[in-house]
Amino acid sequence: MSPTSLPEAIAVSPATRSSPSAIQRLVSRPEFGPFVLLIIEILVFSFLSSRHSVSEAFLTSFPSFLSTSNLSNLLDFTPELGMIALGMTLLMTAGEFDLSVGSVFGFAPILMWTFANTGATSLEVGFLIAMGVAVLIGFVNGVMVTKLKIPSFLVTLGMLLVVRGSALYITDGFPQRTWSAAGPLKDILVGDIFIGDLRFRTSLLWFIAFVAILSYVLTQSRLGNWIQAAGGNPGSARARGVRVARTKIALFILSAVMAAYAGVTSSIRVSAANPNSGTGYELEVIAMVVIGGTALTGGRGTIIGTLLGVLILRMMRNGIVIVGVPGLAYNIFIGAIILGMMALHSWLERRHHAGT
């Protein structure tokens, strides 16, 4: 929201009768909770990992949390899941969600490599075909949800199975050959960039660009207003002339395209195309989005919050291993963070919007 020049003493309803100071306004933003959590997480992991490497002799070779090698490692995968989370944020703001993203993540690179390896097309054309199929998948999801009025949970659950099944069937369950990955596509999607010792990939730049673009779309554009209205009150949005169905279909397409793009990027980076890759990503991505402050029920979403949510969960997975917690305990922490953040968001919601 843009700042207003109105006097501070604004009585709106009993809940907000006291004039909010700048600090109170900051605290009431949905991004504030995740932001604090991220800071705490960085501090705790930095502290624990530095103490580790000093006190335990055989761990001295272990990278500390803030070392350049670990940050490079962290920044490899974060943009990939992050891209899916960005698409999911807009879709969830519009009141729907997409369980098929993990399958599309696995399926798109399979398709691309199958076309390239059989010599049917070049890798680049294979990439375009994969993205085209993702558009189709998103379109089918969107049409079934908006025109046939089937809940997105069921539609995208079905699509999850269809797409994953297709990936397994095409490949007979075997990983695809991917050693010919070097080329312009790799340079564009996941080329290496060095700043001193710190290596990161072009995928990070793409991710930052999409954070900026989609944040603009959600907060500044007319489409963003329509997305929020479609999730908040679809009936009245439709009555005002908002093209609710068209908006949602476009967002389902965006979600599938982002997942396909992330899958291809990931596959080129690790030089592997496994028909099972991406399994379970849909839930991790939805967790990132809701931790960031986007409402599962629609109407309210934040791209910056999702960025924070992505960083929180990726750093948690990375940091837990660095400080020596067994990796298998990861889900305990993730679950606890989700529950904690949901409690916080619901408390803030009730505090600021009392009486509704």
């Binding site: 843009s2 007319r222 409402a295 919007h353």
Partner: protein, 253 residues
């Protein structure tokens, strides 16, 4: 066509399965007139105004708007004609701000248009002026989400929206339900203001006292038929109207 006539519905019939919700109802609203539409539950008031606002289509019958025969297929058709409906839940998006709700579906944009950027300053400025017009004297920033407003303030926003987009006809379906005494007075005041600024209104309410306070003319439906068309609230008592609604007294047409 009578020049003073804004909308005329003629011989409207509507069936739900075998139940006839409206039978041969004709209904007229003149310019600068507030018409009270009364009737018991199931009398057909909601069906009639849903047909006018595009939420339902009639099985037979004609609608004339400003003398022109019109076909209203959906709510957008009605809004384009200048027929705005305000339901008891206001049909606002509670998560969005006042300004964003006022302009939802018709957001002003900045050039270049391919950037699709809303002109939020223009929206906020217009919203401030509008809120004053509908009688909200407190300073409520237009960026306040609807969820932070009281029921009366929400109705005011919905009415402000209808006034801003120059709706000739504002239909208020139970606008005073679930409102407190002060808020009800606010809504009734908005309705009078709307008429004074050149809008016509159809006012539907269970509470006959509210209707009596603002309307120029009362129309009564009973079991899908129009049983009274020209009751003057200044010359009639509430008891008499109640008897017409329940069917104890037949008025000569």
């Amino acid at each position: 066509m009578n020049d003073g006539e804004l909308v005329r519905m003629e011989h409207i019939n509507k069936f739900f399965g075998r139940v006839q919700a409206l039978s041969d109802v004709s209904f007229t609203v003149r310019r600068n007139e507030i018409v009270g539409l009364l009737g018991d539950n199931g009398a057909g008031k909601s069906t009639l105004i849903k047909i006018l606002s595009g939420a339902l289509t009639a099985d037979s019958g004609e609608i004339y708007f400003k003398g022109q025969k019109v076909h209203i297929a959906d709510t957008m058709d009605a809004i384009k004609l200048g027929i705005e409906t305000i339901y008891q839940d206001s049909a606002l998006v509670t998560q969005l701000s006042i300004a964003r709700n006022l302009f939802l579906g018709r957001e002003p944009r900045k050039k270049p248009y391919f950037l699709d950027r809303m002109d939020q300053e223009a929206m906020n400025d217009a919203a401030r002026v509008l809120l004053k017009q509908v009688g909200i004297t407190k300073d409520i920033p237009p960026t306040t989400p609807i969820s932070a407003l009281s029921g009366g303030e929400r109705q005011a926003v919905a009415i402000a929206r209808a006034m801003h987009f120059d709706s000739d006809l504002i239909i208020l379906d139970e606008p005073t339900n679930n409102l407190g005494v002060e808020e009800t007075h606010g809504v009734l005041r908005f309705v009078r203001n709307a008429r004074d600024s050149g809008h016509s209104c159809i006012f539907i309410a269970h509470n006959i006292y509210h209707v009596f306070q603002v309307v120029d003319r009362i129309v009564v439906l009973r079991r899908g038929k129009k049983v009274a068309d020209d009751i003057d609230p200044k010359k009639t008592t509430i008891e008499q109207v109640e008897q017409v609604i329940t069917g104890l007294v037949e008025l000569p047409q």
